[in-house]
Symmetry: C2
Subunit: 445 residues, 2 copies
């Protein structure tokens, strides 16, 4: 196990992998092929640069190419898209016709934004926001659009982060969502505070509404919504992503959920010598006990490290994900962990749920905010399967706790009986988590 390691993709999964492989073997030749002009940037931070909460674009770049080349001795090749993999010859063919031999190959090609099947979805001022090139394109349009109007299509977490940050940037923002409520992956009770936060901000939301067409105009885009034409300076699509799995699939790697490259617990694809990690690959779900496709930066980084070790001869199987995610929009945090009721039912559980609203600190402290907590559990056994939360100064507090409780196999009664720290400015005497769990058990201690 050694020789040349080639990594395709220079962001979260690819560079975590390369860094870990370098740590394991200071002398190994490691080549990183990156399609774009930049590597090692914080994709999740991009909306906050658009909103200018982060003022300096350079802050999004964790390591410069020079650093990676000199300090980590990674042979980073920018603007070098991989076009084809020849697994027999163990070679990657790049767009400029070069053949790069590998001993071990890691595919970390990420995911791409999906444009909805709507006429005009690829018009010039209809944008997506995945990478720094997207961010630059959007950013150059914004000064002219200041005080103008933006349409965000899709009120999922990404759409809302974009909407919130376009508001911060001074635009009037309108969000349309085909589903009945914002953040369709959250139960409406948990999503309700999101709707409220938007109403307090500068954004309007129309849910249960689809965009029929997007028509290019001289200085913007006309959106046809419910038969009516509305004028916008620009349109941002938050309508989902899809794995960049074609390169691996063409090399013979089997695919799984959503067409992502199917990998085992150390990231090996079905083709010898080829690993995959990050948004282009599946990941093991601890509760569903199967491979799923849940593209998240956390998974990309964790699987990147697992693969970086496996290609170095150190097998540390990935314990899996519980699908923990969170998001911030309009000053409100929200997110979820584990299974919702539909997932749980499909997986053979008999789920029940409970929702309670508490507070993020003692009610008499200034700034105390409501916090919604929803728990999903298996009715017959009480086993916690998942949960969600919105609101309060520290949604991470509830979501981290839920990740651990779900991972540990706790029941809802176990959660109701946990001793949680308290101080009036920092938490409530009875945390919303405990209130929700106690509502199920009835007589929580």
């Amino acid at each position: 196990m050694s020789g040349r390691l080639v990594v395709i993709g220079g962001d979260a999964a690819g560079l975590s992998c390369a860094a870990e492989a370098r740590r394991a073997d200071p002398g190994r030749e490691i080549v990183v092929l990156e399609r774009g002009r930049e590597v090692s940037y914080a994709a999740c931070g991009i909306p906050y640069w658009i909103g200018r909460l982060i003022e300096d674009r350079d802050d999004l770049v964790a390591n410069t190419v020079e650093d990676l080349r000199t300090r980590r001795r990674l042979d980073v090749r920018l603007e070098t898209p991989a076009e084809r993999i020849d697994p027999e010859a163990r070679e990657v063919l790049t767009a400029d016709g070069a053949r790069i031999a590998y001993d071990d190959l890691v595919i970390a090609t990420g995911a791409r934004a999906v444009r909805p099947p709507v006429p005009g979805a690829d018009a010039p001022r209809v944008l997506t926001l995945r990478d720094l090139a997207d961010a630059d394109r959007l950013d150059t349009l914004l000064p002219a659009a200041r005080g103008g109007r933006a349409l965000v299509v899709g009120a999922g977490p990404i759409g809302l982060e974009m909407a919130g940050n376009l508001c911060r940037r001074g635009l009037g923002v309108h969000v349309v969502e085909a589903d009945e409520a914002p953040v369709p992956s959250l139960h409406p009770d948990v999503a309700a505070p999101v709707r409220k936060a938007m109403a307090r901000g500068c954004a309007s939301l129309r849910s249960g509404t689809a965009v029929d067409a997007l028509l290019p105009r001289a200085d913007g885009v006309a959106a046809v919504i419910g038969g009516v034409e509305e004028a916008y300076d620009l349109v941002l699509l938050g309508t989902g992503v899809r794995p960049n799995a074609e390169l691996g699939a063409a090399a013979g790697c089997a695919t799984g959920e959503a067409g992502a490259l199917r990998v085992d617990r150390t990231g090996r694809t079905t083709v010898p010598g080829i690993w995959a990690a990050g948004d282009c690959a599946t990941a093991w779900h601890r509760i569903l006990e199967r491979d799923v496709w849940t593209p998240l930066a956390t998974t990309a980084n964790r699987m990147g490290r697992v693969v970086g070790r496996d290609v170095s001869g150190r097998r540390t199987p990935f314990p899996g994900i519980v699908g923990a995610w969170m998001s911030e929009a309009f000053g409100l945090g929200f997110g979820a962990v584990g299974l919702d009721e539909d997932d749980a039912r499909a997986a053979g559980f008999a789920p029940e749920s409970v929702t309670r609203t508490g507070r993020d600190r003692a009610g008499y402290m200034p700034g105390a905010e409501p916090v919604v907590v929803r728990l999903v559990f298996d009715g017959p056994t009480g086993r916690l399967l998942g949960g969600a939360s919105a609101g309060g100064a520290d949604v991470a507090s509830r979501l981290h706790a839920l990740s651990i409780a779900v991972t540990a196999g706790m029941t809802v009664a176990d959660l109701a009986g946990v001793d949680l720290a308290y101080a009036p400015p920092l938490a409530a005497l009875r945390d919303p988590l405990e209130l929700a769990a106690a509502a199920v058990t009835g007589d929580a201690p």
Copy 2:
């Protein structure tokens, strides 16, 4: 199981118990005897009223006496100290000579501040801060002392909360602590940010320093420290508390750690018909697997509810505590859960520990703050025994997570492998908890 329930003590444990008993039996006669002039106040919030973060003193009172009497139909008797219990006759003798018969008796007499064995520790302007009467005494002195100097003796969590709030109120505050570092119950690595936060505030700290004497002066107190006399407008003692267990002990109830009333898992003392709950009683420690005395509002409320059910014929054994506490001073949150290394060693474990500093959100976000996390675990098995944290906007996030992990019996490797939610403004891609755990396992996924 019914007849008259008498509860001695009208705050956290006593009223949680009375409320739960009322819920269980709408018709039962419930008498609450309170020594002071007020009941049902948020003792933990008092420092924040002193600091005027809470502007209205009434906000500290959760339920008025009138509410408790009419809505909950509790026979609340103020300024009625219980002097003696006659367990044979099943009577409580009050200071005014009345004999109050009970069928079930609950002792919830709390704890009192300890004055150190220093000459002058009971001088007029040497104060403690436990209840609203203490708070009023202090508050009347403050306008005159505005811009003046206060000495706080003891840099434990309570002393520091007082110091921080006296600063907020405009005093120059000096804290002396006999131990070498502030918050002696925390490892110095975790307490270091507390020291820094004080230095940024208006308070000075001298640790490893004892007060030799407190001398009353016409308009203040002279403190003799290291042989030198220093003038203060007032002195606040944060030098610990002791259980108000004498009443129960005199009635024959056995005592345990620190002289607190020893109770079983539903709060029964060793005398039939007498329960105890809250700061006057012991509580079951889940990790030590024995009864301990750890006076905390959370335990008081939880045990109060357990007792309120048990006196109503519904046995719901207390699952126990992990000693989770936290505190805020000078804008910094800090706290701990479970065992420190000394506790763990004394309990027969072979503890190891790790400390790491991470951040409370993505490093590139404005306002990102350092967070220290310390984990204590059993070396041979890796089982998490406790942890501590300081700093960041949401210390509750780490401490709640640790409470759950410790309660669930997770190992440090389990913790390193947990999938935690991430969003740049809300948490770090690798949470300080994960960084600390991964530092132990070396190759965390």
